[in-house]
Structure formats: structure tokens, C-alpha cells
Symmetry: C2
Subunit: 155 residues, 2 copies
């Protein structure tokens, strides 16, 4: 559930950018907040919010997603299955760039798990030294076979 404090913060953020506070925007953020770890597609967000707010249009969902991404309130993940997925950003203050949280996908059942581990700093500093690149964010995806799928490949 989204706390009132968070909701107020969101309203402030919108106003600060000259954007308006609408039911649609609040409900979309809320749907993502209440489904942390579910990696919702735009379609799924649409269905969820539509249940509470029947008039909703798909285009609004997509436009709201853009707004929320610009405010750094949500992140997009792509599992190459034809549709993008979205999830609440951890540090929801709309400032931090590093969200140290990544994904683990089972190649058999397709379930997506998460992990918080962060052994990336070492790698990043090394790359920065070697290439002159200033790294501000990273994304890690692991693929394998989950416990229920027996850790064994198909076929």
C-alpha cells in the first residue's frame, strides 16, 4: 500500500514540474506500489487500474508511465518477451540513480526473482579507470533454472 506521506511527496513532485495531479496518475503509481516484485506490463497496469477506474484509456497508462520514469519513481525492465515491464523504484525520492536490485530469470518456468547483492562497485571502478567512462548506473540479469525447476535445463 502507498502511504499518505508518499502520496503527498508524489503530488509535490508533479506540481514542482508543472504537472497536474490526476486520479489516473495516482492510481497507476499505486498499482505499481502495491505490486512490488511483480514486474507489471502496461497491459497489466491498465487492467488493475481499470478495475477501480473504468473510464481509463490505455494511452493514459503509457503516458503516465513516461511521467513516472522521468520522475525516477519507476524503472523499466525488458525481458525480451515483447513487452516492457515496470516496477517501483526503491529509493522513491526521485533522486538516486543507483538502484541496487537486479533480476534472476528462470529459463524453464519464466518466473523472475530478485536479488539485492551488490558486488558491482569493484567492477565499475576498474572499468572507469580503464576506459575513462563515468558510470552512473548498471543493470544485471542472470538466467538459469530455479529450485522448483530442479536446476535442470529443459529437453
Amino acid at each position: 500500500m502507498i502511504s499518505n506521506t508518499e502520496k503527498e511527496k508524489f503530488k509535490e513532485l508533479l506540481k514542482a514540474k508543472g504537472l497536474k495531479v490526476t486520479n489516473q496518475r495516482i492510481l497507476v503509481l499505486q498499482a505499481l506500489s502495491e505490486n512490488e516484485g511483480k514486474h507489471l506490463t502496461a497491459e497489466e497496469i491498465f487492467e488493475l487500474v481499470k478495475a477501480d477506474y473504468p473510464g481509463l484509456g490505455m494511452a493514459t497508462v503509457y503516458r503516465t508511465i513516461l511521467v513516472l520514469m522521468e520522475l525516477h519513481l519507476i524503472d523499466r525492465i525488458n525481458f525480451d518477451d515483447g513487452q516492457a515491464r515496470y516496477e517501483i523504484a526503491r529509493a522513491s525520492d526521485g533522486s538516486a540513480h543507483h538502484h541496487h536490485h537486479h533480476h534472476l530469470k528462470c529459463l524453464k518456468c519464466g518466473k523472475v526473482f530478485e536479488f539485492e547483492e551488490d558486488m558491482m562497485e569493484g567492477l565499475e571502478t576498474e572499468i572507469e579507470k580503464k576506459t575513462g567512462f563515468k558510470i552512473v548506473d548498471h543493470e544485471v540479469k542472470l538466467y538459469g533454472y530455479c529450485r522448483e525447476c530442479g536446476g535442470l535445463p529443459i529437453e
Copy 2:
């Protein structure tokens, strides 16, 4: 350039799967092989091969890409810019699952660099221990600002 040995290996692979050796398939593989590190889109592959083989159709490019991916001869990368990109797989023997090679994208100029570093084994064993997951592959993307872009964010 694609070596004759590699070309023969490719032909064997196709035959072993009951697939036919066609000019289109060889030319697409060759285009990707001669453009290692360029992360070509399907459209770009199409243009490249079409120069040598005018009759080519876009659908064939997409179908060939599928075949090459099933043979593990190429990998797909997605930079969320609306089109998938493809590159030759390193261990082109069509067996290995681990390709320890990842991407570094500049958030200002959009250029994509590569790095070979591999500090992932530690992370992977730890996750395996913790979750019971059997990890067979990983994908790392780093985002930042390249040397030419001054390591400084825009605006």
C-alpha cells in the same frame, strides 16, 4: 572476415539440424561476423547483405536471425531504443552458454562500448548458494558518460 573453416562449421551445423545451406544464411552470418562490435539492427543487416544480394527480403533476415540464435551463433542485445541488435557470439562453436562480454552505453552520445571483465563468478556462486538457482548465463549493462562526453551528464 569469416574464415573458410568457420563457414564449413556453419554448413555442418545447418545440415545437422536438417536445415539447408543458402546464400542468404551465409551472407547474414558473414555480415555479422565482419561487423563485430557494431551491434547491428535487423534493418542494418538487411542493407548490408542487400548490397551483395539485391533480391533479399526483410522477412528472410528475421527468419535467419532466428536460426542463428537457435544455433547460438549470434546474440541479441536490447538497448530499449525500439529495435533489437545482434552480434556474433564469441564462442562460435554453438555450444558454450557463457559469453563473458558486456556493454557500456554512453547516456549522452549513445555510443556502445564493450568490456570483457568478469567479476561475476563470485556473485553467481553466492546467489546460487542463497537461492538454489542454477545460473547458466548473465548479462550486464553499464550506463554512464564516455570520455569524449566528458563524463558529465547533459543539461
